[in-house]
């Protein structure tokens, strides 16, 4: 197709050819083309098939308002080809057709429209019920547009998070004027524009701005100012996704040839927002109003002005606004044959335009409107009707340019919680109640005069500046005066549906919803837009409300012909433009923490697992029973990295009071040189944390928490003391210190290699705490603990020294057969001792008493200890879950432990297995379980139900933990 190459408004480089593959055919477009315009230039007229009736659909608009232009582009289904810039070598494929868009084998569905009234899914297919799954399969197959590409790799997805003073949405004359006005007040501005260039509706219009400057020239003038203004950061080809409360916006930018990214997620927080999103067109509803060949005014006009493509050979116009007349005149000038222009309005037009039309050979028909389009696949003829429906005239044509007028893009305002109201003069939903710091500008107020639009933009910019403390009241007042002098909003048409038989008049293209469907739903009680759209699905498709947004309320209002209720706008929800998940996901960080001994464990072939924010070593070999690791701890010496434990310093005059508040024990007995084991509960008496506490100096405590609580302990303690005004400081040292536990009968010998301090049981007994220097240079806090049930020393040293300490210990331990052990070995070792792990043996239903740990509770009502009230109230409660030990007994295999999570049953479920393992040292299968107290007595026989066991039960018997070293000699060695 020949391009118009001389136009100053072109955005293409006609000389630079780009290639694309469409439906396996190689075609060429030119640089600057969108995929859609390139296809159009190659004579493609049927772009897709509709979802329900498989009606042919063509290019209708150029701003992606409907699914008509959807294709799979480079593997991405449902791509809006009209807003996607053509890149060399693109692969484009049609969707939702069997065959090609021209010859779709499912075309016959169009003849069954009568069988698919609103909500027909709900009245059919479920009887007889046995057939429903089959019908459902068909429905699934028929639904949906494109196919997901299973192996799609995508490209580079960037993220940008900005803070600014004013965000301006829309780079048309109003938005640019607003940005400049605010920027000139010294503020920082972010401006975003959806099209690949600034200019808005001025951008392609040859109508005069002033006598000697056409509008497109004015657009370029403003754009140059924006581009060189140091305070303005502007983003083109950037679509607004959401405008949220507190003036935050999200948008995504499409990467151009020179950008290093394919798409970029942009989030901007600002003080104030200017919304200058202008208008799209309100579709004209008539019979077959979506036949290929029917297109909106802007589409036809921009095809020529921006892309150098005349939309066809002969076009009939049916419009309701001056811009439609302007386009007709211009396209006529450019060589398009226009037999007739029907204007819905009888009067109110710009007289100059009427004059020019009358002088041309175009037949200009006031009070006329498109009635019906003919043509099997493409438009071949149109019947125009007088708006009262009494007269008819038909014209042969291959293009129908149809538009009822404009409709403001007020989605951003709605998202920002503005209230809109139907305005009788313009026929628009205009801003009525605005949230603070949100300023609509330009055509959102219904303005059409270029100077009024700019003036309104500047005013919005100044108002936004005032929100940021940079007001210029005088200037604002002047502008207000000026705006009063300029032409106000144009009167708009309110015509909802063209007269004639209600045949296939489409309100929503995406979902194939006709006027008839809307009425049917109204009949059924869905007679307000919000309900109607849910029942008919109008506007819920991927065109994101663009086509039916304004018409649906008007059609419904028409249904209520006698009522005085004004049309109601419906809710718009983000994202305003369909957005790739890849773009939302952005850079996809996988953030986790490594302990300071991570590398050393890696060298020892640790198998790591994510545990909360950490990566921790779970096994040190592929033997997941951890036999060697466990036996090493029992017989020689093992080493485990416990750096993830929470580590805290709490000091100050009221430090003890704070401890008494959160710890269930009596913390006044904590003394130097000793650790005290204690626990924290929540206010239901449920165990939430345990650890040890020691006193390092007067009013200066050091304590540990479980890994899971490290992040929230500061918050917790300060929360529970927030009313008290106590004087203490709390420092989270978790990341400052690493921690290593050395456990096993030979632990003392290994540690003596690193220190001359007396480590004997007498000098440094169980629960002792010592500060010493290890390996000559590592200051360490060493404590004797017994979690794993063998003699053990836990060493806390600064993070930077932890790796070195690990290395020293490994070297010193070599002669003693030292081995690292991981979380699973530790899990078995501690279970043998009956020690609980929070979340594994405890849960929301269990109190400290239920876990058999009630002994830790010390009554000190004056401290108002968190959890104490509940512990008092539940002390003697019956019918609770209790933690018990059990061992496997005949007839089950006494050496086979049930799997964790198996349930304990008789006639009903009575509890579950928390942890159970075969114990190498005891040579029997043992475990801990939570069971109803009736079954918690020592010696009770339990039946265990494992998943997939086919109701074969396992047998166990309640025994008293600990299972191993009952007297605790080994930890006190």
């Amino acid at each position: 197709m020949n391009r118009l190459t001389h136009l100053p408004t072109l955005r293409i480089q006609p000389s630079k050819a780009l290639s694309l593959t469409y439906n396996k055919k190689r075609l060429t477009g030119v640089e600057g083309d969108s995929v859609a315009t390139a296809l159009y230039a190659n004579g493609i007229r049927i772009f897709s098939r509709s979802v329900k009736y498989h009606r042919p659909r063509g290019l209708y608009s150029l701003d992606g308002e409907s699914s008509n232009c959807f294709m799979a582009v480079d593997g991405v289904p449902n791509t809006r080809t009209c807003t996607t810039l053509l890149k060399d070598g693109m692969t484009v494929n049609p969707q939702n057709v069997i065959g090609t868009p021209e010859h779709d084998w499912l075309f016959f569905l169009d003849y069954f429209g009568w069988a698919m009234p609103a909500g027909f899914y709900h009245r059919h297919f479920h009887r007889p019920y046995v057939l429903w799954p089959t019908f459902r399969k068909w429905i699934r197959k028929a639904a949906g547009f494109g196919n997901v590409s299973k192996n799609w790799e995508g490209g580079i997805y960037d993220e940008l998070h900005l803070n600014t003073d004013v965000t301006v949405i829309g780079g048309g004359p109003a938005g640019m004027s607003a940005a400049l006005a605010a920027a000139n007040q010294g503020l920082r501005i972010v401006l975003i524009e959806g099209r690949p260039w600034l200019g808005g509706f001025f951008e392609y219009s040859p109508e005069p701005y002033t006598l000697d400057i056409p509008r497109y020239e004015r657009a370029r003038e403003l754009a140059r100012e924006i581009e060189k203004h140091p305070n303005i950061r502007w983003f083109c080809h950037t679509y607004l996704m959401g405008l949220y409360g507190n003036h935050q916006i999200t948008a995504f930018q499409k990467g151009g040839e020179k950008d290093y990214f394919d798409e970029r997620y942009i989030e901007v927080r600002s003080q104030s927002v200017v919304v200058a999103t202008g208008c799209i067109e309100r579709p004209l509803i008539f019979e077959h109003n979506e036949r290929p060949g029917v297109m909106q005014v802007g589409c036809a006009h921009r095809l020529a002005r921006t892309y150098g493509l005349l939309p066809g050979t002969k076009a009939v116009f049916s419009v309701g606004h001056d811009q439609g007349l302007e386009a007709a005149l211009d396209l006529h000038q450019l060589g398009l044959k226009i037999p007739a222009v029907a204007d819905i309005r009888f009067d109110g037009q710009n007289p100059d335009l009427v004059d020019r039309l009358n002088k041309s050979e175009i037949r200009y028909m006031r009070g006329w409107v498109a009635g019906k389009v003919y043509g099997h696949h493409q438009t071949s003829k149109i019947t125009l009707r007088s708006t009262e429906g009494t007269r008819e005239e038909s014209y042969d044509c291959d293009v129908v340019v149809a538009s009822a007028g404009h409709t403001p893009v007020s989605g951003p305002l709605i998202m920002a919680q503005a209230k809109l109201r139907f305005d009788l003069h313009t026929g628009f939903f205009l801003p009525h109640r605005l949230p603070g710091n949100v300023h609509p500008a330009g055509r959102l107020w219904g303005l059409t005069d270029p100077h009024a639009i700019e003036c309104s933009g500047m005013m919005a910019g100044l108002k936004a500046a005032a929100d940021c403390g940079a007001a210029d009241d005088n200037r604002l007042k002047d502008l207000k005066e000026k705006l009063k002098e300029l032409p106000g909003p144009e009167r708009g048409t309110k015509l909802a549906i063209s007269p004639g038989k209600p045949g296939k008049q489409f309100v929503c293209f995406d979902e194939d919803v006709t006027v008839k469907n809307i009425y049917q739903a109204c009949d059924m009680g869905f007679d307000v837009p919000e309900l109607n759209k849910r029942f008919t699905a109008a506007g819920t498709g991927p065109g994101q409300w663009g086509i039916p947004g304004h018409n649906l309320p008007l059609v419904i209002s028409k249904y209520h012909a006698d009522s005085t209720i004004p049309p109601m706008p419906t809710t718009i929800r983000p994202p305003m433009a369909p957005t790739l998940m890849a773009t939302y996901a952005g850079k996809r960080h996988n953030i986790f923490k490594r302990t300071p001994a991570h590398e050393w464990q890696e060298k020892a072939h640790a198998i790591f697992r994510r545990v909360g924010v950490w990566k921790r070593a779970r096994y040190f070999s592929k033997d997941y029973s951890c036999k060697t690791e466990i036996e090493t701890v029992h017989q020689a010496v093992g080493i485990i990295d416990v750096s993830t434990l929470g580590k805290f310093r709490l000091f100050g005059p009221d430090a003890l009071k704070a401890l008494q508040r959160v710890y269930i024990g009596d913390m006044s007995t904590v003394k130097k040189g000793r650790v005290k084991y204690s626990a924290m509960c929540n206010d239901d008496g449920c165990l939430i944390d345990d650890g040890v506490v020691t006193l390092t100096a007067e009013n200066d405590y050091y304590f540990t928490t479980s890994t899971g609580r490290a992040g929230t302990t500061v918050e917790w303690i300060r929360y529970h003391t927030r009313y008290d005004g106590w004087n203490f400081h709390l420092v989270n040292l978790t990341d400052a210190y690493g921690a290593i536990n050395l456990a096993g009968p030979k632990a003392r010998k290994v540690l003596s290699e690193l220190t001359d301090d007396d480590l004997s049981n007498e000098a440094f007994p169980f629960t002792g705490y010592r500060e010493m220097t290890l390996a000559g240079k590592i200051p360490a806090r060493v404590m004797r603990l017994g979690f794993v049930g063998e003699l053990s020393f836990e060493m806390h040293v600064s993070s930077s020294m932890t790796g070195y300490l690990w290395k020293c210990l490994m070297e010193a331990g070599k002669p003693f057969g030292i081995r690292p052990f991981g979380l699973e070995a530790q899990n078995v070792l501690r279970m043998q001792k009956g020690h609980v792990i929070i979340g594994q043996e405890s849960e929301i239903r269990t109190t400290l008493h239920d876990l058999g740990m009630g002994g830790l509770w010390y009554k000190k009502p004056e401290s108002k200890t968190v959890g104490a009230v509940a512990l008092k109230q539940t002390k003697h409660q019956k019918d609770r879950l209790k933690l018990v030990g059990f061992k496997m007994v005949e007839p089950s295999d006494p050496k086979r432990a049930p799997k964790d999570g198996s349930i304990i049953v008789n006639d009903t479920i009575r509890g579950h297995v928390c942890t159970a393992r075969y114990s190498f040292i005891l040579n029997e299968a043992i475990g801990l379980a939570l069971v109803e107290d009736k079954y918690a007595g020592i010696g009770t026989q339990l039946e265990i139900f494992e998943d997939g066991s086919d109701h074969q039960r396992l047998h166990a018997q309640v025994v008293k933990p600990p299972f191993y070293d009952i007297e605790g000699h080994r930890i006190r060695m």
Binding site: Y244, G245, N246, Q248, R269, D683, D684, V714, E715, R718, Y719, H720, R722, Y723, D724, P861, K864, A868, V869, A870, K872, Q873
Partner: protein
């Protein structure tokens, strides 16, 4: 809806930096003579105000302070 909270130390910040700490219910009651019902009321029952309420917030990704603000639960706006 996005929320902006003014921390007494750090100023206006993104709401997701904070942790909500409940409506201001006053200090922990004296334990003497506390019935289970009264206690559950303090611990679990909430006013669920539909409007302005005084509530606790903790600046988690910030200075680590617990403080109170007034917020309208209908609009999610902080009230100054």
């Amino acid at each position: 809806m996005s929320l902006t909270i003014t921390c007494p130390i750090c100023g206006k910040r993104n709401g997701y930096e904070f942790r909500y700490g409940g409506q201001d219910k006053g200090p922990r009651p004296e334990e003497d003579g506390l019935t289970p019902e009264k206690w559950a009321e303090y611990v679990h029952l909430n006013e669920n105000t539909g409007g302005i309420q005084k509530e606790w917030w903790f600046h988690r990704s910030g200075c680590g302070l617990w403080f109170t603000i007034l917020r309208d639960t209908q609009t999610n706006q902080e009230i100054k």
